[in-house]
């Protein structure tokens, strides 16, 4: 052990790191001991589980797409455009990150619910968002969007806009430069942000149950299904949880291996 340390790390530090790692790992290990391995297959393929999985996948993909669509312009504006109250705008964008999701769900309800701020307008248009699959996507987008904005904005800042200036002196218009210089250069960050958004959307619980409810096949995503089965059928809950953990591990591995692999000078 000692031979491997770089020599600049105080000796008391690694033990604390190990405690931290155990805090994260212990619950996962504990859960693995409770898994009914023989029946995992059938537990995660029960009709209600399959419905929840399918819904989770659909809504998370939709929410992630929305995060890309909205997050890219937001990050670019925050990183590259000077405007009044910019610091405040950046703070507000990050609010969903620190807000308890259940509060976010309530806020969404007051904005888009039937009697919400925009509810009347939406009603006139024949749209009733609350307690629908759309509400699930909105809730997931709400909580995941800051991850995209944060990831992209810091990448854009670190990169600076020198390459864009070069492109401009080479005669490239702003739109062309954005598509052929800015986007390719922020690609690794976009991949990382997308993966993080998808993970956050997949795990969304509080805002979803508050704003969308828990209706099988319509708004009951995997986390909601787990919460429900926890009382009724703990084995099913554990099996589904295991599935989410595996997905999370794959995603984290993907997100933290890829961005560094393409170094930009």
């Amino acid at each position: 052990m000692r031979g491997r340390t770089s020599g600049y790390v105080p000796t008391w530090l690694p033990p604390i790191a190990v405690v931290g790692a155990l805090l994260v790992l212990m619950p996962l290990i504990a859960m693995a001991t409770r898994v009914d391995w023989a029946n995992v297959g059938s537990l995660v393929t029960s009709p209600s589980a399959v419905a929840a999985l399918a819904l989770s996948l659909r809504t998370s993909v939709a929410a992630t797409a929305l995060c890309v669509l909205l997050g890219v312009p937001m990050a670019v504006v925050l990183a590259r455009v000077e405007f009044p109250l910019k610091a405040l705008a950046r703070t507000l964008v990050l609010v969903p990150l620190v807000l308890p999701p259940v509060v976010g769900g309530l806020a969404l309800l007051y904005a888009f619910g039937r009697r919400g701020l925009l509810g009347g307008t939406l009603n006139l248009l024949g749209l009733d968002i609350a307690f629908s699959t759309t509400a699930v996507v909105l809730a997931q987008t709400f909580v995941a969007l800051p991850f995209m904005v944060l990831t992209l904005e810091s990448a854009l800042r670190a990169q600076g806009s020198t390459y864009e200036a070069v492109a401009s002196t080479l005669g490239a218009r702003r739109g062309y430069t954005f598509r052929h210089v800015t986007l390719p250069l922020m690609w690794p960050a976009l991949v990382a942000g997308t993966v993080l958004c998808f993970a956050r959307a997949l795990g969304e619980f509080g805002a979803t149950i508050t704003f969308a409810g828990s209706l099988e096949g319509v708004t009951r995503t995997v986390p909601l299904e787990i919460y429900l089965q926890r009382e009724v059928d703990p084995d099913a809950a554990v099996a589904l949880s295991l599935l989410l953990i595996v997905v999370a591990l794959v995603i984290v591995g993907f997100a933290y291996r890829h961005p560094g692999s393409r170094r930009v000078k």
Partner: protein
């Protein structure tokens, strides 16, 4: 096309005007931090000045003044900017980097790549066409950057210390490429290196603390500097005085002889310049100079090592002494020394006083 530019930018202490005749290369010669990059940045459109106006031929590139703001984006100007770093797009091959300007103009990929290959051939870099920028050496990358700047077909090419980041070998090669590229092209070449300026530029504008102190044809500026700062950049001694029959009379009455470069009248303000090679340091403690020794006596103003010699400044002149001799004399600022000027190596010419700008 003729370029005329005047730019002020208070934040960088820049207040300069330059003009470049059509097809000629102007070297903007000055030390780092003298404002060269800011001036080029303003002309290219990447740095907005407080005020200024620039025209290229009949076209106004920009005009920023109180109550008037014509400030087009860089892509709306026909000005290319090549920097110290190649800044090749890391996600594109060398070929696609060079094809970029044509692609941005809407040229098809095939045609843009065909043109790009020609530009790469012009700078002798076809062999790296398929390489990623990360795999190129500094010299190769700068070749590709030159090809890319040319591919944009600018009416005016600005080069900001394009050789400064290269090692000596690569710099020699790229200098040759640039000599070829800059022939018959309207260009400004910013450099702190008097060698680059003398080899690549038709004209020189000397920049000091954000201002142009002197400008003119390269040979004139470097061999007959008007401003002490120019002389310093050119590595020449420069003393002021008054023209006499025999040479230059200094304020203290001493007369230094030299080659008369023009037939200005006796009594007019004049300058004498001499290379270090034409100046000999006689002794630390000056005795009274002999009648025909062509010497001046002055305190040492600066001493520094320069290649294998100790370079000594005194009374505006520069003398080199070899390091062995230097060890014995132990010169320091303020020591009084006597310098002998070789009359054949010294040039005397009129002091134009106000620097000419055209």
């Amino acid at each position: 096309m003729r370029l005329q530019a005047s730019v002020t930018l208070e934040e960088r202490g820049l207040d300069a005007a330059v003009s470049v005749k059509s097809g000629r290369t102007l070297a903007l010669l000055g030390p780092n931090g003298s404002g060269k990059s800011s001036l080029l940045g303003a002309i290219a459109g990447v740095l907005r000045p407080d005020s200024g106006r620039t025209t290229l031929g009949d076209e106004e590139l920009f005009d920023v003044s109180p109550g008037n703001s014509h400030w087009p984006r860089p892509d709306e100007r026909l000005v290319g900017l090549l920097g110290q770093e190649p800044m090749l797009f890391p996600h594109l091959s060398a070929l696609d980097n060079v094809a970029f300007p044509a692609r941005a103009r809407g040229v098809s990929r095939t045609e843009a790549r065909r043109e790009a290959l020609e530009w790469l051939a012009a700078v002798d870099a076809e062999s790296v066409a398929q390489s990623r920028p990360g795999a190129l050496s500094g010299g190769q990358a700068q070749r590709v950057a030159i090809a890319r700047a040319l591919a944009a077909q600018p009416e005016l090419l600005l080069l900001d210390e394009p050789l400064a980041a290269l090692d000596v070998d690569a710099a020699v090669k790229i200098r040759a490429v640039l000599a070829d590229v800059l022939r018959d092209r309207t260009a400004i070449f910013a450099t702190h290196d008097v060698v680059d300026a003398s080899m690549l530029a038709d004209d020189i504008a000397v920049m000091h603390d954000g201002r142009i102190v002197e400008s003119g044809p390269t040979r004139d500026v470097l061999t007959r500097p008007q401003h002490p700062f120019t002389a310093r950049m050119a590595g020449r001694g420069l003393i002021r005085g008054v023209r006499t029959d025999a040479g230059l009379e200094l304020p203290d009455g001493a007369v230094v002889r030299g080659m008369l470069a023009d037939d200005a009248a006796v009594g007019t303000d004049a300058l004498l310049t001499a290379r270090p090679a034409a100046v000999e340091l006689l002794s630390r403690h000056a005795g009274a100079p002999g009648g025909d020794s062509n010497t001046i006596t002055a305190p040492v103003t600066n001493v520094e090592t320069h290649a294998e010699v100790l370079r000594v400044w005194a009374g505006g002149l520069i003398a080199d002494i070899d390091l062995d001799a230097a060890r014995d004399t132990a010169l320091a600022r303020g020591d009084l020394v006597t310098l002998r000027v070789d009359p054949v190596g010294a040039t005397i010419y009129s002091n134009a006083m106000s620097p000419t700008s055209d």
